[in-house]
């Protein structure tokens, strides 16, 4: 069962930055672009599992901090010539609140 779950507000994330959400399926990175768009992908680079939330964000991509793979925030795909993909998580922004579509949660704790 998938459910929309509120994880925080837009202002919790710095522009061109990211925060993480712990889920039963693994850590999800939630990114905010300079234009205040929000994207969410699983926080593991397809290359060596690097934490994408710690990378440098520009436009709609993030560069993995471990070996500089560039990952598309919308699709989770590595950009050419690298190949690989991390799973995107459906996300929506409603009146400044960030919602992720995740496996139904029993409990949400906001950090």
């Amino acid at each position: 069962m998938l459910d929309w779950i509120k994880v925080g507000t837009l202002s919790d994330i710095p522009r061109l930055g990211a925060r993480t959400v712990e889920t039963a399926q693994g850590q999800v990175a939630v990114f905010r672009t300079s234009g205040d768009e929000v994207f969410a992908i699983f926080n593991r680079c397809p290359h060596k599992g690097g934490p994408l939330s710690e990378g440098i964000v520009s436009g709609k991509v993030v560069v993995c901090p471990l070996h500089s793979w560039t990952i598309d925030l919308a699709t989770g795909e590595a950009t050419a010539p690298d190949e690989g993909c991390t799973r995107p998580v459906p996300v929506k922004l409603v009146e400044g609140e960030i919602w992720l579509e995740l496996k139904a949660g029993l409990k949400v704790a906001h950090g």
Partner: protein
């Protein structure tokens, strides 16, 4: 060549082996053949190896298409999908397809692949029983997964395990039945097989090992397995993945020589000189094939032969195996265990971390390797096995990996022409010379950056960049100019020009720079943002507000990220001097936060490794309380000042090198620089502090202090060049500070002092620092001014709550 003179090539089989051969052929002889391809499946050519990733939900079918239909059209290839060839008439030289097409050939290529091996079990024909071979099988398995049914997989080899894991990832309860006592027994020894089973059991798979299936139960559809020992395994989906066998039906019908597979010679030709075969359908010198590496080699040889070159011969290379289960690292090559007294085993086992490594040696050569949990050095062991390298000299270290054994070749003076194609050039990414040459030729690469992007060679530590550059020059036949390229894809302007404009036009924010210089991207990119941030910080120390989102993670969180996402913490130890109280505080922190590794660094300090990000502020708070501040071990900034004990204790010491080191460190700590900056002070010319491989070194002599600059002990060893001799400690501080400031203002971002000194020349540096007294004093005072804004302990700021969001997760969903 005139179209009418072209020969006709018919390819039976639209899989990886056949199309790779066609690709190779088009690359070397594009006009030789009119090509017709028949495929039994309805899809264009796809990457069968990645089916397990499709099953696991990591990829879609579209993602694994190698050549879309448009590729066939562009290359003038007639493609017939979903239309298998049913007969070959060797006398008439024609093939006939299921739909009735009759196509003549001059050359025929058989790439019919393999069929799943199906054991003679009662119930095999029931609905709900599938193999794991093609897209249709995967679709059936996914349909079952959607209904959350139970699955059982027969076969604990590579294929069976990937199938079981994929189904588990799709949420199904999965059991796996394997005939042998341990998993992957052909690729793993007993120990590694057990570790694999333990890990996969923890991930929710159930295993029945040493178990033989008697029948598939069920009346109208599969309901489970009955084992010969009487146990029953209930399941709605039964996946049979015990292996493959060459698909030789067509070849057999045509009267070609066959055994287990279609027999081919070293030229990949069958018993009929007009017919070739490649891939899983062939048998070469008694061997059949299931892994991709030898098949790529066959494709290359076969294409050369088809193109009319008679010097290409196939030889099976040694093969290595990896398992595609996310998060489980397995590697094996060659012999799995010692088989007689001549063989020796080197074994490393860390049961807590689930790491196991074994090397099998014979006569001081590697003949096999099995690795579980940490496979980083697999490529290196594999290379030594291929090269039959004598490893006697590093035998007692090699099980710990290449970094410890240190056999790295240096870039300079390497004869790239004499280097064999399989020589590993990039140890970090496992890239061979052959791969680099191929990428340069096939993709028309002309710059080092392009080669890095396409092959990954040189993109990690950069140590091999010189060799990669040399290969590039060799292949393209010209010395490739390192042209003054733009900073990054966002601008064509080089670093120096951007920097000049920042100062000339008084640009004081990143947005202003991008606007004034017409950047192509609104945000910049991960290459230019850290550079611009540094240039602005250096130009306007009092005004510019550091942009933490333009900092690489280490500088953003003031700690060093490690490969597992944890961090390392290095407190400053002024001049390498510490106290019992500081050591006690460090020990207490290590205990309190259960820090797994405490290590002494090369810069005379102590490194705490394996700290979780959320623990960092608390760790820093405790270190701060004991009087310690950030050591900036993570920074493109002032790192350490290494010292010897000097005249205070040493019978040879001429000056107080320790005290001078501490003064230099107190002057310089906290500064940001284009790249890291390291110092050392030695108390006499014996130079125990190794000052001659530092960015700036001081060597004390009876008559004063020798200053040396531009050394580097890292990637490329470079000894320092002498700058000058001065008489007093105050002069040391002024000259050193001026040198550092000029480096800060004039070197390009990420340029160490060693290449900078080589680029601008020692004459220039001496003129600025030694010859121009007023200029030196001015540079020194600019440095002291900028330090007013830089010498704030970033750890103490964060203990007080600066950027607190960096260290907390946004939410936890349980």
């Amino acid at each position: 060549m005139n179209a009418a003179l072209r020969q006709k090539l018919v390819v039976i089989g639209n899989g990886m082996a056949g199309m790779r051969t066609v690709e190779e052929l088009l690359a070397i002889a594009p006009a030789r053949f009119d090509i017709t391809v028949f495929g039994a499946e309805p899809h264009p050519n796809y990457n069968r190896i990645m089916l397990s990733s499709v099953l696991a939900g990591e990829k879609e079918v579209d993602d694994i298409i190698i050549n879309p239909r448009v590729w066939y059209a562009e290359n003038g290839i007639a493609l017939h999908t979903g239309d298998p060839v049913v007969a070959i008439d060797r006398a008439a030289k024609t093939v006939t397809s299921l739909s009735g097409l009759v196509v003549p050939y001059d050359r025929l290529l058989l790439a019919t692949g393999s069929k799943p091996l199906m054991p003679p079990l009662p119930g095999l024909e029931l609905p709900g029983v599938v193999a794991f071979r093609d897209i249709a099988d995967v679709e059936k398995m996914l349909a079952a997964a959607e209904q959350k049914q139970r699955a059982v997989v027969i076969g604990g080899g590579l294929l069976g395990l990937e199938a079981a894991w994929g189904l588990r990832r799709r949420g199904m309860p999965v059991a796996l039945v394997h005939l042998m006592p341990t998993l992957m027994e052909r690729q793993l020894d007993v120990e590694a097989g057990h570790l694999l089973q333990k890990d996969l059991t923890e991930r929710g798979l159930h295993f029945f090992t040493g178990a033989q299936t008697e029948e598939i139960m069920g009346l109208d559809r599969a309901e489970g397995l009955k084992l010969t020992d009487g146990r029953e395994v209930p399941a709605d989906l039964v996946v049979v993945a015990i292996g493959i066998r060459p698909n030789i039906d067509l070849a057999k019908g045509a009267g070609l020589d066959i055994n287990r597979g279609i027999e081919v010679g070293d030229d990949m030709c069958c018993s009929d000189p007009a017919i070739y075969a490649v891939g899983e359908c062939v048998e070469h010198r008694g061997q059949v094939f299931g892994l991709v590496a030898p098949i790529w080699e066959q494709a290359k040889v076969c294409a050369s032969r088809l193109a009319g070159r008679d010097d290409a011969n196939y030889q099976t290379p040694p093969l290595s195996t990896r398992l595609k289960i996310t998060g489980i690292d397995v590697f094996s090559v060659g012999q799995l265990t010692a088989v007689d007294e001549g063989d020796e085993e080197l074994i490393y086992r860390d049961s807590a971390k689930g790491i196991y490594k074994k090397l099998v040696l014979r006569a001081d050569k590697v003949v096999g390797a099995v690795m579980y949990g940490d496979v980083a050095d697999g490529a290196w062991y594999f290379q030594m096995l291929r090269e039959k390298a004598d490893v006697a000299a590093m035998r007692d270290r090699m099980i710990f990996g290449q970094a410890y054994a240190d056999v790295s070749a240096k870039g300079k003076g390497v004869d790239v022409a004499a280097m064999s194609d399989d020589t590993q050039v990039c140890g970090c990414n496992g890239v061979s010379k052959g791969t680099i040459v191929k990428a340069i030729c096939e993709k028309g690469l002309t710059s080092l950056d392009e080669v890095k992007a396409h092959t990954k060679a040189g993109s990690s530590c950069g140590q091999c960049s010189a060799v990669v550059q040399a290969i590039l020059s060799h292949v393209t036949g010209e010395a490739v100019e390192a042209k003054a390229a733009g900073m990054c894809g966002c601008t064509d302007l080089p670093h120096d020009e951007v920097r000049r404009v920042i100062v000339a036009q008084e640009l004081k924010s990143m947005t202003a720079v991008r606007k004034a210089l017409a950047w192509r991207t609104p945000d910049g990119c991960a290459k230019c943002r850290p550079a611009l941030n540094y240039y602005l910080l250096c130009a306007w120390p009092a005004e510019y507000v550091d942009d933490s989102q333009s900092r690489f993670i280490n500088e953003r969180v003031h700690a060093n990220i490690q490969k597992d996402g944890t961090y390392s913490v290095v407190p400053r130890m002024w001049g390498g001097v510490t106290t019992p109280a500081e050591l006690r505080a460090i020990a207490d922190v290590a205990d309190k936060f259960q820090i797994p590794t405490v290590k002494v660094t090369g810069g005379q300090r102590i490194d705490l490794l394996g700290v979780r990000k959320d623990q960092l502020p608390a760790v820093w708070a405790d270190l701060n309380k004991a009087g310690m501040v950030s050591g900036h071990a993570y920074a493109k900034g002032l790192r350490t000042v290494k010292t010897c004990v000097g005249s205070e204790w040493c019978r040879f010491g001429t000056q107080d090198s320790t005290g001078l080191g501490i003064k230099l460190e107190k002057l310089m700590w906290g500064t940001w620089t284009p790249h890291k900056f390291k110092l050392a002070v030695s108390g006499c010319p014996r130079n125990c502090a190794e000052a001659t491989i530092k960015d700036l070194g001081v060597i004390c002599v009876e008559a004063g202090y020798d200053l040396v600059v531009g050394g580097n002990g890292g990637i490329e060893l470079r000894g320092t060049d002498p700058l000058c001799r001065v008489a007093s400690e105050d002069e040391v501080l002024e000259y050193a500070g001026a040198f550092l400031q000029i480096y800060r203002e004039e070197a390009r971002y990420l340029e160490r002092t060693a290449p900078w000194v080589e680029r601008v020349g020692m004459d220039y540096i001496k003129k600025r620092v030694v010859g121009d007294e007023a200029g030196r004093r001015a540079a020194f005072s600019r440095f002291v001014y900028s330090q007013k804004y830089a010498q704030i302990d970033p750890w103490a700021e964060r203990v007080l709550g600066v950027e607190a969001y960096e260290f907390q997760s946004l939410a936890e969903v349980e």
